[in-house]
Point group: D2
Chain length 381, copies 4
């Protein structure tokens, strides 16, 4: 920690700061410049609170020298971390795709989507059972019932599963059914929740908060890791800026910055960040190109009737096309990526069948024939 | 809800949207312009999901016409609301000052501060027992012990009390001890917590999230109110912007905007928003001038040794001077505000005594005589 | 300047930085901590480029210690500056109101508004002759003709005059007609323009850029002042944030921050920052309360037919009511403010007459009777 | 344009709006919902000012239906545009790399860099002769002398040349020497300058403003194009957000959004957006992967002694390695990209020689041997 004194600082003021540092058993190291005096603190500065010295007379600024996060810090753990979850591993050498619906709507829907995304190369099934929604009047999720469907779909397909948790009871339920717990953007600084998922020891995907800095994000990871859980996966999902042409602004540089600052794996969510299915493929490719360890992508059998976030969901066909296009990018960046099968052949029937079975699906299925969905719109905020 | 079609929209595309609307039992109202066709939805649009129509062919944009919040909306409740808490009432006609330390550190400290802020005109005592901190290695609060001190201080002084709650267990504890529950900025979209404080029926102070829009903020209030709890107080505490000269950017226009959009009382926190004691007085005056219903201000007996947020805390003397300066502003805007006594006479002894008793206080008290704190620094980020 | 080395920094790396500093004739002062080594530069660091040392091996970060602006810096000029313009002076002890239309539309309109704002207490007439507009298809101003009207209105009423300049030819023209040159938000970093207005020696009102930091703003002032022109007035007019409920986010804390960092007078523009006439009065009062030296307010005889920024313009009646309400706030903060007359009595006839004469005014004047303007809307973005 | 009335809107208020629309020769189309009435305007809405109707009684909101930019709008020009400049063409089918120093420092330096970037695949030489700098005390560029060096380097190497223009005199000078005029981020809304570069008819690279929305950016392009100049190239170079880990936040989604909204080619500047040479390669790859038409990259023979923006400049070796890595990405996205030669072989000598000749180079060249630059730092703000 460095204390920069004001140009006019009296010797008494400087002495008071020095005395205060030494009173904590630390050393103060003075550097008198032509204009200002600088005081360096030598020793364990956790004994000092940055904020307190700031109120001393003639103190101009306090500059922290070291980061407050340690366990997530690359400086103290230079090798990249791989997090294992179910049959998959997130980290160097492979590209992990987590795909599935925004919200779990029914068992049939989820199973249908699970088979489709597996065929196209996903190894993790995503699906929300607890949906944090801006308005209390929006669909809030199937809760534990949704978790059970996730477990069934995971077992049947061999996919690892991930579900967002929004409260301690949700954590207690989720640990019984899924392989990865997700902490959403709105809860990135819900420190109680962070500690709780830390205590589970399970893999945790930590989404970046809407207005979280890189440092705050790593400090949130530190909350989880300081409970003894090293299995943290970071997920960039867009930050809030003044620009409204996309739902959020995808900060892909954060991938590169994290490579410098942390050893944790990082994946990118092009669905929530852009808010439009149209922007998902180019941003997914960009994420792979800048060396993300994986992608989280929303896929829905029937986006026109999805209960949540339809406009940003890919259809099976879109998703299959995207993974085929992604494969050569993976080769370029040295990541393995396997596409087991062909969605269209295996799952086309499911997609159409499911469209008739899920909630909201029947009434409009005739008046909205598939071709109406062919060209869709990106300008959703 | 209005659906704006693309300039090129085929008649089939328009018909598909209309059919989809009518299938829900709503009416579609077409307006064909020279360039584009617009479709208005007549009826209860909660039957339609904005997001789903956005994926139809040739749909350009969906424009919502009505707000998703109802209970907090001034359109449906034009008269301003007054929220009663303990011996005080927050709303039109009076200025409510909530003051106290960022964190409750000890019983003596809290009692000392409680007397001081009461003498200077505060009617609500603030104090954090559960501290959400960016780093897991920072002081996290005294928890239930802190709540008990709050209760004691409230009883002895007659001040109403407010404490932040960060989890369901914290809510359960806090309802036994304090008069107002505070939902902090980081938890503004912790919907589980919002519902829980809603169910208590107690007054709830809802701080604006760091990057929350006015609409999201009112939707968060709606979560609380839709549980049957009308006692919501809004609190503007600064938003995150690119500017780093202040800790956050205090958005005082939000007070004026809320007067147009909502009937709920709104108070302003100049301490957290600016991050420096120096900026608290001018921003407090500005808040009163633009018709805020109250202020939340951090006051500490010994800012140089506060366990949290020292640089933004006022000393007793600063606080007393501020309330004296605020009084004529209250008269100008038609709000009653009473200053019962003189802090210096009643509490000066406490301030000095407390400085010797609280943690961290002894070691440096001699090397940092009061005058060292006289001129302090604003540039804390 | 402080150079913070990486924890792992080799002695060779440290020596290379030191050698580089000493090669410039400066001294390097080492402070070896337990984790990192810090190098302080003693001497005139303008000889070093911060950015260059950042590329040296094992350098972690460069921390500048002193600000790059000098002439606008309070540290080197502690007394507040008063800028004189025409018959008025902007600075401590008085409140200066600059009022008038967004765009000069005609001589009659301008004269009518000039008389009205003078009667209500304004001492500076604002009016745009060169309008920077987002779209090339919007009205761009009357240019030199508009400047001549400004001069005439200034002479007749005794008001000082201010007009925005957007190019070197505009500066050349404006110096002949008006008392204060305004550099708009979009041109705050048009350094060529800043130097040019600097060379005129005339009072310059420098609006803050839409996304300018306080430091960039003061550096822009430095451009003007380094040409030998000390007559700079700062104007806070809102910054761009994610919030869209107001046109921009008025950063009133900037007034308080500027009081710490600079000696220059600062005024506030509540019209452009909020974008709605409804929010102008509360924000104007807040600005006075937090010690702004003045206000810039848009006033129009007929907002419903203004050629630019109608929704944020006050009518004569609104403006007169506002200045009457502001007067006691001025007294509270120790600023003189004189209201020469009563707008309604002196100017009501002009307002109505002008409505018939200005462009666009005739056609709709009957279909939009005055009462239609009585309640207006704030939600303009 | 759609006018949304307030829920309570009186019939008189609705009639007044309708009358005002009809008075302009347009049609008003009413849609009465259960809660609100909506008025659609049919006809050429340029006859109406959005802002004026907003002040009418009981008007809640005005929603624009069509964009204000036409010439840059994909809706009216669906085929992608290719802009030719010198021997190169920016648009579909090829990747254009513009590379060179931030500032032109000397003829030898520029020639050396020109040969190196050409060998590695660049087809456009960038170099600043007029440098807009935050502080008036920083190096401001060689001006016309720098332009002459650009011309010489272009002729000798066959590279097209691009230089930023910051004023009308700079435009007049630049048209004589370079192939592409660049309008920088700070001048994106310097409308006088936009019109002037429009009148030249030359290719113009228009950088996005630091806080410009996509719509404002396209309106700025419209200023250039409405002067009869269709040769506009867009350049995403990062926007200002709250995040400080990178110099700006590179908004790569803007590339995808522009593909939907405009037919103009778009290139990406990973140097200015991230501010660190370390982040340039991953972001350059990401830009190619999401289908940018080109890249603008800073390359310097001696970043440790660059007069401007050293920390974000690549060395010749870095640049050569990057273009080799980019080549297979170009193939994947279907863009031709040719690497004529090997930088190391042809230019290594120049790099070392130049380091001895340019200003500032001699004094430190011995104390900073090449290996000191091997590991460099990203945390420059």
């Amino acid at each position: 920690m460095i204390i920069i004194m004001k140009p006019c600082a009296a010797q008494d003021s400087i002495s008071a700061v020095v005395a205060s540092i030494e009173a904590k058993g630390l050393s103060a190291h003075l550097s008198r410049g032509e204009e200002v005096t600088i005081i360096g603190v030598v020793g364990d500065k956790s004994k000092l609170s940055t904020e307190n010295l700031a109120v001393y007379k003639d103190v101009d600024r306090i500059v922290p020298v070291t980061e407050s996060y340690k366990l997530s810090n690359k400086k103290f753990h230079p090798e990249p971390t791989t997090v294992k979850a179910g049959n998959t591993a997130i980290g160097p050498g492979s590209l992990t795709i987590m795909a599935g619906p925004c919200a779990v709507e029914s068992e049939e829907q989820l199973m249908c989507i699970a088979r489709a995304v597996k065929a196209a190369g996903a190894t993790v099934l995503r699906g929300g059972a607890y949906k944090p929604r801006t308005s209390p009047y929006s669909f809030q999720g199937l809760e534990e019932e949704g978790l059970r469907y996730m477990q069934t779909a995971g077992k049947e397909t061999g996919l690892a599963t991930i579900c967002e948790v929004v409260s301690l009871p949700a954590v207690e339920a989720a640990v019984k059914y899924v392989d990865i717990l997700q902490v959403g953007a709105r809860n990135m600084q819900n420190f109680i929740l962070l500690k709780e998922v830390g205590r589970t020891g399970m893999p945790v995907l930590l989404k970046r908060g809407l207005c979280a800095t890189i440092d705050e994000w790593l400090n949130a990871a530190e909350y989880i890791m300081s409970e003894g859980n090293p299995n943290v996966i970071l997920c960039e999902r867009g930050i809030r800026t003044y620009e409204t042409a996309t739902r959020n602004t995808l900060d892909l540089s954060a991938v590169a910055v994290m490579r410098e600052k942390s050893h944790l794996p990082i994946i990118v969510d092009p669905s929530h960040s852009t808010g439009s299915y149209k922007y998902v493929p180019p941003m997914a490719k960009a994420a792979v190109a800048c060396d993300a360890d994986g992608l989280m992508i929303e896929v829905h059998n029937d986006p026109a009737h999805a209960l949540s976030d339809g406009p940003q969901s890919l259809t099976f066909q879109h998703f299959e096309q995207l993974t085929r296009e992604l494969k050569p990018f993976c080769e370029l960046v040295g990541r393995s990526f396997v596409i087991p099968g062909n969605i269209t052949d295996e799952n086309a029937a499911f997609q159409n069948a499911a469209a008739e079975n899920i909630a909201f699906g029947n009434a409009v299925s005739e008046s909205v024939p598939p071709e109406n969905i062919a060209i869709r719109d990106p300008e959703v905020k």
